[in-house]
Symmetry: C2
Subunit: 196 residues, 2 copies
């Protein structure tokens, strides 16, 4: 496609592995790297290798960590477990600064069409955590069809232990106009309506 010399082509190919990066964007990134000093480029490269080397997955919750168990599992209220799809969802919730419980990262959602079953997710690890201490499991998977199905599956299992299971409220997002809400959301908002 392009006519760069081999080391530049190689770098462009690497950048296209990033999500949403096509060959034009990868070219821009590669040329930016070339305009860095050798020192800057080295620091960039080291950050990649070091992130892979120094970041582990917490054996309890599945979140990225540099200690095992992670500092959230070590220091927070273990009686409430919030189940999320991905590590980045943990960050989104942590940003609120409100939640004091621990997490469980599934690493995806059930998706039979793509061949993702319960053994491909960290389901067994979750069920192992359901000891007497756990009082509530909060399901915070996405509201996609797969996210919903996964939540339903986990809920059914957790309830067998007599543990309270909750799902994040679904409705019209704050600040948005009613007329632009999609039908499913509006319908859900109606059936979930709260007495004031």
């Amino acid at each position: 496609m392009s006519n760069y010399i081999e080391p530049i082509e190689k770098l462009i190919r690497q950048f296209t592995k990033l999500p949403g990066v096509g060959s034009k964007t990868a070219q821009r990134y590669a040329l930016t790297v070339l305009s860095m000093t050798e020192q800057e480029a080295k620091i960039f490269a080291e950050a990649i290798v070091e992130a892979k080397e120094n970041v582990a997955v917490c054996s309890v919750c599945g979140n990225y960590t540099d200690s095992d168990p992670c500092h959230i599992c070590q220091t927070r209220d273990n009686s409430v477990i919030c189940v999320v799809q991905e590590a980045k969802d943990v960050i989104a919730i942590e940003r609120l600064g409100e939640y004091r419980g621990v997490y469980h990262v599934l690493g995806g959602v059930l998706n039979p069409l793509k061949g993702v079953g319960r053994d491909d997710l960290r389901m067994a690890e979750l069920f192992k955590r359901l000891t007497g201490d756990v009082k509530e499991v909060i399901l915070a998977t996405d509201t996609s069809t797969e996210g919903e199905a996964t939540a339903t599956y986990v809920a059914r299992f957790v309830k067998q232990y007599g543990i309270k299971v909750t799902r994040l409220a679904q409705g019209i997002s704050i600040g948005s106009e009613l007329q632009y809400a999609d039908e499913v959301t509006l319908s859900r908002a109606f059936s979930n309506r709260k007495e004031l």
Copy 2:
């Protein structure tokens, strides 16, 4: 802003150095790197270091090269010099497969407001190349105000040597950057180039 552990934060900061990458995109890139195998991440990191180490700037034309002078300077018609702003513009023209002459990469354009003068560009190197062999200088800087001004400046100088100076036809839409021109427009602009 986010709550990742240090090695991930570090990687995110590195990715934000790429053009057009904000913290959200950098997060996605960093998490993609974490989901790579250690081997894949190493290859990525090496591509960055190797590109910096193995890519040099041609001492004649200023284009990126792995040999000096570059293969274009060594093998092509040295009597026609196409003057461009950046190395990526060379790629855009090379993609046409029509031009048989050599290039001269200025490394930017004259921009008094940003303090970019002729000594910050590879102007002297260009004028040094204007020996008896050179029959034509094609000005292919962007059609921005600065690109135009730079073309005018170079044209005035080159004409003193009695060398023919041409500018890419203004079929390229004014205000856009050369690298984004579609191939037909770029090709038309080449064949319609006007003597100044």
